[in-house]
Amino acid sequence: MTDDLRASATTHEPLLSVQHLQKIYPTPGGPIEAVRDLTFELRSGEFACLVGPSGSGKTTLLKCISGLMAPTSGTVTLDGKLVDGPPRKMALVFQEYGRSLYPWLRVDGNVELPLRAAGIPKAERQERVAEALDAVGLAHVPHSYPWQLSGGMQQRVAIARAVAYRPEVLLMDEPFAAVDAQTRADLEDLVRSVWKRLGLTVLFVTHDIDESVYLAERVIMLSSSPTIVQEDLRIDLPEERDQLETRSLPRFVELRHHVYEQIQKAKRGFNADAA
C-alpha cells in the first residue's frame, strides 16, 4: 500500500497541500489552540473525508483551506500557489444551507450569481445553470425561491451552485448534518455521482463515521483539539457504492470499526506524538 502511494505521488503533484497548519485564536481568556500541526496532501481527483470528534477544529481547518481565514502558521497551497484568500478554483458547501443561499434570488439566480460575477457570457451561464440543476435533480424548480424548498433540496441548490462554478476542489463542511436520514442517503449518492462525473477533487468534512467510510476513497482522522492528523486511511471498497450493499460488506464493517476506534481514542486524548 505504501509502494502504491509513493508511485502515484511521483506521477501526480499534489493538487492541495496543507503543511504544518496551526491556528490559534486569541480570546479574552487567553489564546486557544484549535489546530496544532496538520499536514496532508490531496491529489487531483481524490475524494477524501476528514473525520474527527466534535470540537476537533474541522471547521477552522476548512476555513483556513478555503482562504476565509489566515492560519497562525503553516501554509495551504493549491496547484502550487499559496492560498491567501478564497482561490478561484475552490467552491465551498456549508452545513447551514438555509443561510448560504440568497433568499432574494430564485434557485437559478443563486446558481448563476457566481458565474455572473466571474464575467461569463449569458448564454454560457444559462447552459451551465441548467446543466448543474439537472445534475442534482432540480431541473423542475429553477424559478422557486430557496425557502420554498425542503432542506435537502436547498442543499442540492448549494451543490448545483458549486458544480456550475466548475471548481477543481470542492470543500464540504458537514453538508448533510442538518437533513434527515433518507435525504442524507440520497445526497451522499448524489455527491459521489457528481464527483465521478466531473472528476472533481472533494474534501468532505463530517463527524459521521459511517458517512466518511461510505463516501470516500480516503479517510483522514483528526485528533481532538489541538488537532493533528491521527491517521490517514485508504478506503479499499469497490468503486461502485450502494447504500445497502456497500454498507453490509464485511470490509465496510471492518473499516468502520477501525475508524470508530481511532475516533474513540482521539476523544480519550490519545496523541500520535505521545504514542
Binding site: A91, L92, P103, P114, R116, A117, A118, W147
Partner: protein
C-alpha cells in the same frame, strides 16, 4: 367575507368618532370649532379646485425631491459607514452632532444661505429624513449573515456585484424600516418649512394664510388634506414594501410554519 370584516374593523372607530363629533357640534355656533358637514364642504369646494394644482402639487414636489434625496443619500452613506470601520469612526461624531440639532432650527440659516425658494425647504426635508434611513442602513449592512458573507467571498463576488446582489438586498428590510420612519418626518418638515417661509406657497403657507384671514373652515380642511396625505403615503409605501420584500415575508412565513 374576510375582506368585509377587515374593512369593518378598520372603519368602525373612525365612523363612531365622526358621529360623536357631529352630535357634539350640532348646535355649536363657535366659528373656531369645525363641524363635519362644513369640513367636507370646505374640503371639496376650497381644496379640490385650483388650490390642488397651485398649492398642493408644489408641496408634494418638495416632499418627493426631499425624501428621494434622503433615501439616496441615506443608503449611500449608510453602506459606506456600515461596511467600513474607519469611515464610521471618522464620520460618526460629526453625524451625531448634526443629528442632535432639530432640523427646523436650521431653516433661518438655510434661507440666508440658499435664498427663500424651494432649495432650503427641500434641503430641510432631506436633512430631517436622512437619519432614520442612514442609521437603519448602517445596522442592516453590519448585520448581514456571516455564512452568506463567506459564501459571497468564496465565490469571488466583489465590488458592484457584491453590493447589488448581496449587501443591498440583505440590508433592504432595515432600509425599508428607515424609510417608513422617515415618511411622517417628511410631511412635518414640509409643512413647517412652508409655514415659516410663506412666500413660496404650498400647503403649509396656505393653511397659515387661511388662519390669519380667519377662514377657519378652509384652514381645518387644509389640515384634513395633510392627514389624508399621510394616510395615502403610508398605504402606498406598504404596498411598495410588500412587493419589494416579497422574499423576506415569504421566508419568514416559511420559517414560522416549520415550527
Amino acid at each position: 367575507m374576510r375582506i368585509l370584516k377587515t374593512i369593518a374593523a378598520v372603519l368602525t372607530l373612525p365612523i363612531l368618532l365622526i358621529v360623536l363629533w357631529w352630535i357634539a357640534t350640532i348646535d355649536s355656533t363657535n366659528p373656531f370649532v369645525p363641524r363635519p358637514g362644513r369640513l367636507v364642504e370646505d374640503f371639496v369646494t376650497v381644496w379640490l379646485g385650483p388650490l390642488l394644482v397651485e398649492q398642493v402639487l408644489p408641496s408634494l414636489a418638495r416632499l418627493g425631491i426631499g425624501l428621494g434625496s434622503a433615501i439616496v443619500a441615506g443608503i449611500a452613506l449608510g453602506v459606506l459607514i456600515g461596511s467600513n470601520r474607519i469611515v464610521s469612526k471618522i464620520l460618526g461624531p460629526v453625524l451625531e452632532f448634526i443629528r442632535a440639532v432639530p432640523p427646523p432650527v436650521l431653516l433661518p440659516v438655510l434661507m440666508m444661505l440658499m435664498g427663500i425658494g424651494d432649495g432650503p425647504k427641500v434641503f430641510l426635508i432631506a436633512l430631517g429624513c436622512v437619519w432614520p434611513i442612514l442609521l437603519n442602513t448602517v445596522d442592516g449592512v453590519r448585520s448581514v449573515d456571516g455564512v452568506l458573507s463567506d459564501t459571497t467571498r468564496t465565490y469571488a463576488i466583489h465590488g458592484w456585484d457584491r453590493l447589488r446582489f448581496f449587501v443591498l438586498p440583505a440590508a433592504l428590510p432595515r432600509i425599508m424600516t428607515g424609510i417608513r420612519l422617515a415618511l411622517p418626518i417628511s410631511i412635518i418638515l414640509m409643512v413647517v418649512s412652508e409655514m415659516y417661509a410663506i412666500s413660496g406657497g404650498g400647503l403649509g403657507s396656505q393653511i397659515i394664510y387661511f388662519q390669519r384671514t380667519f377662514q377657519n373652515g378652509p384652514m381645518w380642511a387644509g389640515i384634513l388634506v395633510l392627514g389624508l396625505l399621510g394616510v395615502v403615503m403610508a398605504l402606498l409605501f406598504r404596498w411598495i414594501e410588500r412587493w419589494m420584500l416579497a422574499w423576506y415575508y415569504g421566508q419568514r412565513e416559511a420559517e414560522y410554519s416549520d415550527r
